[in-house]
C-alpha cells in the first residue's frame, strides 16, 4: 500500500518543490523514486521469506481498494521501481532542453505510483482503478511535446486505452455480478455455470488488456505514441507500462480462467493457450517485420516492443496450453518480461542519448557515429546483445526457455502446427537480430550523411546509468540460472505444476551446444535479411498504406463517423437516419 502511496503523494511533493526551482524538483523526484525502490526492495525480501502481504482500505469507492502482494507482484514491483529510478536519473539531463519539465516530473512520478498499483492490486476492481489512473497520467507523458504528431498520437492512445478500459470494466461487471467479488481466484467454472460463453469472456479480457499490451491488431497506438514521447518516457512506456497488459493476461490465464481440478474444463484452458500462441506469433512476427522496414530509431524500437510482447504472449500461451506440464512456458514468459523491461528501457535511453547529441533519430540520416560516440556504441552493442539473445546477455536465458517450451509442447501434443510455430519463433529471432543490427550498422558504422564531427560522446552521468544497465544485463545473462531460481521459481511454486518440470528448471542446460546454436541461427537469418535490405539501400519499397491502422481502423472510423460528417453538409437529414437505425436496432434486440 505504502509503495503505491509514496509516488502518488510524492507527485504532489514534486509539484510543490518545483516552486523552489529546478534543483529542488529534481531532488524531490529522485528521492521519491529512490524511496519507492527501497520500499520495494524491503517488500521483496519480506515476501520471499513468508506469505503474501494483504492490505485494504474498505471505504474508497464504496467497494474498497485491496492490495495483495505475492511473489509475482513483489518481483515486478521491484523491477518497475528500479527501472523508474534509473529513468528518472536519466531524465534530468535529457529533459533539460524540453519545456514543462515540472509537468513531466509530476506525471512521471504519478505514473510510477499507478503502475505499481496495477501490479500490487489485490483484486480486479483495484487493478482497474490504477489501470485508468495510469492511462491518464501516461497520456501527459505522451503528449509532452505538444506538437501536432504528439497530440494526434496521444489521442489515438487515449481513445484506444479508454475503449480497452471500458471493455475491461464490462468484464469486471460480469465477474462482480456472478461471483460477488473480483479477487484473483479460479472462477471459470462459476462463470460458465452462470451461462456465459467462454469465448466471449476470453474476448473481453483480450480486448481489455490487449490494448495496453500492444497486441496485434490492437497495437496501433504504440508505434505512434512511444516515439513522440520524450526518451525517458518512451523507455518507461515501452519497458514497463505495456507489461501491465501482459500482467493482466498472466493473472487471467493462469488464475482467473482456471477451474479446480476435475471439473472437466481443462480443454478450455488448452484452447485458450493455443489461441494465445497464435496471437503471440502474429504479434511477434508482425512487430518484427514492421521494425525492419521503418527507419526512425524510436519507431523501430516501439515495433520491437510489440514483437517482444509477442514472445511473452507466445510463451504464456504455451504454458497455459500444457496445464500441469507448462512450467517451462510460464517460466519463459515471466523471465522474458523481466529481461525485456531492462534491455528495452536501456535501448530507448540510448536512443535518447544519441538524440540529445545529434538532434536526429532517422537511421537513414545518421551514420558514422562510432568515431564520435565510441562509448555509446559500446553500450549499444551490449543492449543489442541483450535483446538478440547472445549467450551471456540476458535475452538468451528467456529465449532458451521459450524455445524449449514450444518444443516441449510439440513433443507432448504432436501437432504439426506447433512445429511451424517453433519455426516462426526462430525466424522472428532472426528478424530481431536483423533490425537491431540495422540500427547499429546504420547509425554507428555507415558512412556519415551529415557532419557529426562536433558531436560529443555521452556524458558522465549517462555512462554511470548505462553501466548499471550493462551490469544488470550481464548478471541476468551469465547468471540466468540464478535468476530463474530467485525470481521465477518462487512464482511457479504456487501453481499446480509437475515437479519434474520444476526440477528441470533448476538445471536448465543453458550452455550446451544445442542451445548455443540458437543465436548463431538468428544471426545467420539476420545476415540474409540484411543482405536483402541492403539491396534496397535500407529503404524497402513498402507502401505507406500497409498498416493495420490504414487498412482497418481508418476506414472503420470514417464509416462510423460518415453520418456525422454528412450532417454538417446536409443539415438535419442524417439525424433521422441514425435515429431510425438505432431505434430499430434497439427494438429488434428487445423483442426478438
Amino acid at each position: 500500500m505504502l509503495i503505491t502511496a509514496v509516488p502518488l503523494v510524492g507527485s504532489a511533493i514534486v509539484w510543490w518543490s518545483a516552486r523552489r526551482g529546478e534543483a529542488g524538483r529534481t531532488l524531490a523526484a529522485n528521492l521519491v523514486c529512490l524511496l519507492t525502490l527501497l520500499l520495494s526492495l524491503v517488500q521483496f525480501f519480506v515476501v520471499q521469506k513468508g506469505q503474501a502481504i494483504g492490505w485494504s482500505i474498505p471505504w474508497v469507492l464504496a467497494f474498497g481498494l485491496k492490495w495483495r502482494v505475492d511473489h509475482f507482484s513483489a518481483v515486478f514491483a521491484l523491477i518497475v521501481s528500479l527501472v523508474w529510478f534509473l529513468a528518472t536519473l536519466f531524465s534530468k539531463e535529457y529533459m533539460a532542453h524540453e519545456e514543462n519539465q515540472t509537468r513531466f516530473s509530476v506525471a512521471s512520478v504519478f505514473t510510477l505510483g499507478s503502475t505499481l498499483g496495477v501490479f500490487l492490486a489485490g483484486d480486479l476492481f483495484s487493478l482497474f482503478l490504477f489501470f485508468e489512473l495510469m492511462t491518464f497520467a501516461a497520456y501527459l507523458l505522451v503528449v509532452h511535446a505538444e506538437n501536432k504528431p504528439a497530440v494526434e498520437a496521444g489521442s489515438v492512445y487515449l481513445y484506444m486505452s479508454v475503449i480497452g478500459g471500458l471493455v475491461l470494466l464490462g468484464a469486471i461487471f460480469i465477474i462482480q455480478h456472478n461471483m460477488g467479488h473480483t479477487e484473483f481466484v479460479p472462477m471459470l467454472d462459476g462463470l460458465l455455470a452462470a451461462g456465459y460463453n467462454p469465448w466471449l469472456l476470453l474476448g473481453v479480457v483480450i480486448a481489455g488488456f490487449g490494448v495496453k499490451a500492444g497486441m496485434v491488431p490492437l497495437h496501433i497506438w504504440l508505434p505512434q505514441a512511444h516515439p513522440v514521447a520524450p526518451a525517458p518516457a518512451s523507455a518507461l512506456l515501452s519497458a514497463l507500462m505495456i507489461k501491465t497488459g501482459a500482467y493482466g493476461f498472466f493473472r487471467f490465464l493462469t488464475v482467473v480462467f482456471t477451474s479446480p481440478q476435475g471439473s472437466g474444463l481443462f480443454y478450455l484452458q488448452e484452447s485458450f493457450g493455443y489461441v494465445f500462441i497464435w496471437i503471440g506469433t502474429i504479434t511477434m512476427l508482425g512487430g518484427a517485420l514492421m521494425a525492419l522496414v521503418h527507419s526512425p530509431m524510436k519507431r523501430v524500437l516501439a515495433y520491437s516492443s510489440i514483437s517482444q510482447m509477442g514472445y511473452i504472449l507466445f510463451s504464456l500461451g504455451t504454458g497455459v496450453m500444457l496445464g500441469q506440464d507448462g512450467a517451462v512456458g510460464l517460466a519463459g514468459a515471466w523471465l522474458h518480461m523481466i529481461n525485456h523491461a531492462f534491455y528495452k528501457s536501456f535501448l530507448f535511453m540510448l536512443a535518447g542519448a544519441i538524440y540529445l547529441r545529434t538532434d536526429e533519430l532517422d537511421l537513414n540520416k545518421l551514420g558514422g557515429l562510432v568515431r564520435f560516440m565510441p562509448k555509446a556504441f559500446l553500450f549499444f552493442l551490449i543492449a543489442a546483445a541483450g535483446i538478440t539473445g547472445v549467450p551471456g546477455f540476458n535475452g538468451y536465458g528467456s529465449k532458451v526457455l521459450i524455445h524449449e517450451a514450444i518444443l516441449h509442447a510439440y513433443h507432448l501434443k504432436g501437432w504439426e502446427s506447433l512445429l511451424w510455430l517453433e519455426r516462426a519463433f526462430v525466424f522472428t529471432g532472426g528478424l530481431t537480430a536483423a533490425y537491431i543490427s540495422k540500427i547499429w550498422l546504420q547509425a554507428f558504422l555507415a558512412k556519415p550523411k551529415a557532419d557529426y564531427s562536433q558531436v560529443k560522446d555521452i556524458s558522465r552521468s549517462q555512462v554511470g546509468i548505462f553501466t548499471v544497465y550493462s551490469v544488470i544485463l550481464l548478471c541476468l545473462g551469465v547468471g540466468a540460472q540464478g535468476a530463474i531460481n530467485k525470481l521465477v521459481l518462487p512464482v511457479l511454486v504456487g501453481f499446480d505444476l509437475k515437479a519434474a518440470d520444476l526440477a528441470h528448471l533448476q538445471h536448465v542446460p543453458f550452455w550446451t551446444g544445442h542451445e548455443l546454436m540458437g543465436p548463431v541461427t538468428s544471426y545467420g537469418i539476420a545476415l540474409t535479411v540484411l543482405a536483402v535490405l541492403a539491396l534496397f539501400r535500407f529503404k524497402p519499397p513498402v507502401p505507406s498504406w500497409l498498416s493495420v491502422e490504414k487498412i482497418v481502423y481508418r476506414p472503420l472510423c470514417s464509416l462510423l463517423s460518415r453520418p456525422l460528417r454528412q450532417q454538417e453538409r446536409t443539415g438535419f437529414g442524417f439525424d433521422l437516419v441514425i435515429v431510425g437505425v438505432i431505434f430499430f436496432a434497439v427494438l429488434a434486440f428487445f423483442f426478438l
Partner: protein, 515 residues
C-alpha cells in the same frame, strides 16, 4: 411550518427583488442572504427524519378544499440539500458573471422564484401540490431562458413554454385520472395505485410525458438543447444541474409512491421508460458529438446523462436505484461545474464554439483543470464520482438480467469520452488560434464555486464517510420498501405508526406519520 418557510422565503424574496429597485451591492447581499438562509433552514429537515422515516405535513387551510401537503422523506430531504448547496454556489458565481449584463434584477427575481418552486416540488406530499409548484417552476424558469432577450432566446423560450405547458397538461390529466381511479392524490410509501385499466395506463403515460419532458427524455428533449445554451451560464448550470432532476424526481414519485412499483414491473409499463432511457442515452451522446457550440454540447450531454437516471429507474433494481440516486447528485455537481467553467470561458473570450478554445488551458489553468475533472467524472473514470454511479447502474442492470443496458452504459461512456476529451485536449495541448493574451482566470467569486464543485466530483468517492452514497443507499432501500434508516443512525427503523391529532387553528397544520 418549515416547508412553508423553505418555499416562500425565496419566492417572496424573489418578488421583493423584482419589485424593489435595490442598489446593486445591496441587492446582491439580499439575494445571497435569502439563498443562504433557505439552504440553512433546509438542514433542519433532517431532525424530522431522525425520529421517523417519513413525515407528512398537511396544511388543509391553504388552497381549500385539497390543501397543501408536504412529504419529508429521505429522497426529498437529500435532494433539497443538494439543490440548496449547488444553488448557493451558483448564486455566488452569478454576481460577477452578470455584472456586464442587463436586467439583473429580473434575473435574480426569477432565480429565487424558481428556487422556491423547486423546493416546493421536491417537498410536495400529494400530486396536486406537486403539480402546483411544478407549473410555477416552468413559468419562472421561462424567465431565465429568455433572459438575453434576443431573437434566438425568444424562440427557444417559446419552444420551451409550449412544450412545458403541454407537459403540464399531461401531468394534470394524470392527476385527474389518478383521483378518478382511487379518490386520493396523496402519495404513500408503498404506492396506492395498481389498476391495469386503460385509464391507468393513460395516466402513467401522461406522467411519463410531463415529467419526461422536463427530464429531457427522448423524443421530448427538443427544447433542452435550445433553451439551455441561450440562458446565461449560471442559469444553464441551474437548469441542467437541478431543474432536470425535478422531472426525474417526479417520475420517481410516480413509480414508487403513486403506482406500486411491483405492479408496474409485472404489467410491463416500466419497459416504456426503459427503452426511452436507452434511446435517450445513445442519441443524446451521438447528438452531443455533432455539436460545435460548447454549451449545446453540454446540453446534449445533459440529455444523455438524464438517460442514465431514467435507466436506473426503469431497471427497478435496488442496486441500480443506489446508482440512480447517486447519479442525481453526481450529475448535478459535474454539470453545474462544467456550465460554470464554460460560462467563464465564454464571458472572458467572447467565443462560443468548441474549436475556438484551443490553448485556453494555458491561460485559465485552474478553471480548465476543474473542467477536466468534471469531464473525467462524466466519462466515468475512477476515482471520480461518475464511475461509482456507472458501477452501481451496471451491476443493477445485470441483477435484473438486462445485460444490454450495461453494454449501453459502456458504449455511452465511450461516446462521452469522444465529446469531452477533445475539449480538454484542445485546451491544454493545442496552440492558440485566437489571441487569448489578455485572458486570465476569472475573479475569485467566480473561481471558488467552480473549484468547490470540482473537488466534490472526486471527494464523494474517496472519503471514509461517504454521506452521499450512504444517503443513496438508504433512499433506495426506503423506495423499495426496506424502510431502512440511515446507516449512521444505527439499525434500520420502521416507519412508526403514530398519528398526531391535528392541532386546531393556525394553518390547520398537522403532522401525520405516514403508514
Amino acid at each position: 411550518m418549515l416547508p412553508l418557510l423553505l418555499i416562500f422565503i425565496p419566492i417572496i424574496g424573489g418578488v421583493l427583488v423584482g419589485a424593489l429597485k435595490l442598489e446593486d451591492r445591496l441587492r446582491d447581499r439580499f439575494v445571497l442572504t435569502v439563498t443562504a438562509l433557505t439552504g440553512f433552514l433546509g438542514l433542519f429537515l433532517f431532525p424530522y427524519l431522525s425520529e421517523v422515516n417519513v413525515a407528512v405535513l398537511r396544511f388543509s387551510r391553504i388552497l381549500p378544499p385539497f390543501g397543501l401537503s408536504f412529504r419529508i422523506d429521505w429522497l426529498s430531504v437529500i435532494l433539497v440539500t443538494i439543490a440548496s448547496a449547488i444553488w448557493l454556489l451558483v448564486t455566488i458565481y452569478s454576481f460577477d458573471y452578470l455584472k456586464p449584463s442587463h436586467h439583473i434584477n429580473r434575473y435574480h427575481s426569477f432565480t429565487l422564484i424558481s428556487y422556491g418552486s423547486i423546493l416546493g416540488t421536491l417537498l410536495a406530499g400529494d400530486l396536486l401540490t406537486l403539480f402546483l409548484f411544478f407549473e410555477l417552476l416552468s413559468f419562472a424558469s421561462y424567465g431565465l431562458v429568455i433572459h438575453e432577450g434576443d431573437e434566438k432566446a425568444m424562440r427557444a423560450g417559446f419552444l420551451y413554454l409550449i412544450m412545458t405547458i403541454g407537459g403540464g397538461l399531461a401531468i394534470l390529466f394524470g392527476v385527474l385520472a389518478v383521483y378518478f381511479l382511487t379518490g386520493s392524490v396523496t402519495m404513500t410509501a408503498e404506492g396506492f395505485l395498481a389498476d391495469s385499466s386503460i385509464l391507468s395506463l393513460l395516466a402513467f403515460l401522461g406522467f411519463l410525458i410531463g415529467f419526461g419532458m422536463k427530464a429531457g427524455m427522448f423524443p421530448l428533449h427538443v427544447w433542452l438543447p435550445e433553451a439551455h445554451p441561450v440562458a446565461p451560464s449560471p442559469a444553464s448550470a441551474l437548469l441542467s444541474g437541478i431543474m432536470l432532476k425535478v422531472g426525474a424526481f417526479g417520475l420517481l414519485r410516480i413509480i414508487f409512491n403513486v403506482y406500486q412499483y411491483r405492479f408496474l414491473a409485472e404489467i410491463g409499463w416500466i419497459k416504456i421508460l426503459l427503452y426511452g432511457a436507452i434511446l435517450t442515452i445513445l442519441l443524446g451522446s451521438v447528438f452531443a458529438i455533432m455539436q460545435k457550440n460548447l454549451k449545446r454540447r453540454l446540453a446534449y450531454s445533459s440529455v444523455a446523462q438524464m438517460g442514465y437516471i431514467l435507466l436506473g429507474m426503469g431497471l427497478l433494481s435496488e442496486q441500480a436505484m443506489v446508482g440512480d440516486v447517486f447519479h442525481i447528485f453526481t450529475h448535478a455537481i459535474m454539470k453545474s461545474c462544467l456550465f460554470l467553467v464554460s460560462g467563464s470561458m465564454i464571458l472572458l473570450t467572447g467565443k462560443t464554439d468548441v474549436d475556438d478554445f484551443k490553448g485556453i488551458g494555458k491561460r485559465m489553468p485552474i478553471s480548465m483543470a476543474c473542467f477536466t475533472m468534471a469531464s473525467l467524472s462524466m466519462i466515468g473514470i475512477p476515482p471520480f464520482n461518475g464511475f461509482l454511479s456507472k458501477w452501481f447502474l451496471g451491476l443493477g442492470a445485470l441483477q435484473v438480467n438486462q445485460p444490454m443496458c450495461a453494454v449501453v452504459l459502456l458504449i455511452s461512456s465511450l461516446l462521452n469520452a469522444v465529446y469531452y476529451l477533445p475539449i480538454v485536449i484542445n485546451a491544454f495541448f493545442r496552440p492558440e488560434e485566437h489571441d487569448f493574451s489578455r485572458v486570465t482566470e476569472p475573479s475569485l467569486t467566480m473561481l471558488v464555486p467552480v473549484v468547490i464543485l470540482a473537488i466534490a466530483t472526486v471527494l464523494f468517492d474517496i472519503i471514509p464517510v461517504n454521506v452521499l452514497l450512504e444517503l443513496s443507499e438508504v433512499t433506495a432501500a426506503t423506495l423499495f420498501g426496506g424502510g431502512g434508516g440511515w446507516a449512521l443512525n444505527g439499525p434500520p427503523q420502521q416507519a412508526a405508526h403514530a398519528n398526531h391529532s391535528s392541532t386546531p387553528g393556525g394553518l390547520g397544520h398537522s403532522l401525520v406519520v405516514c403508514p
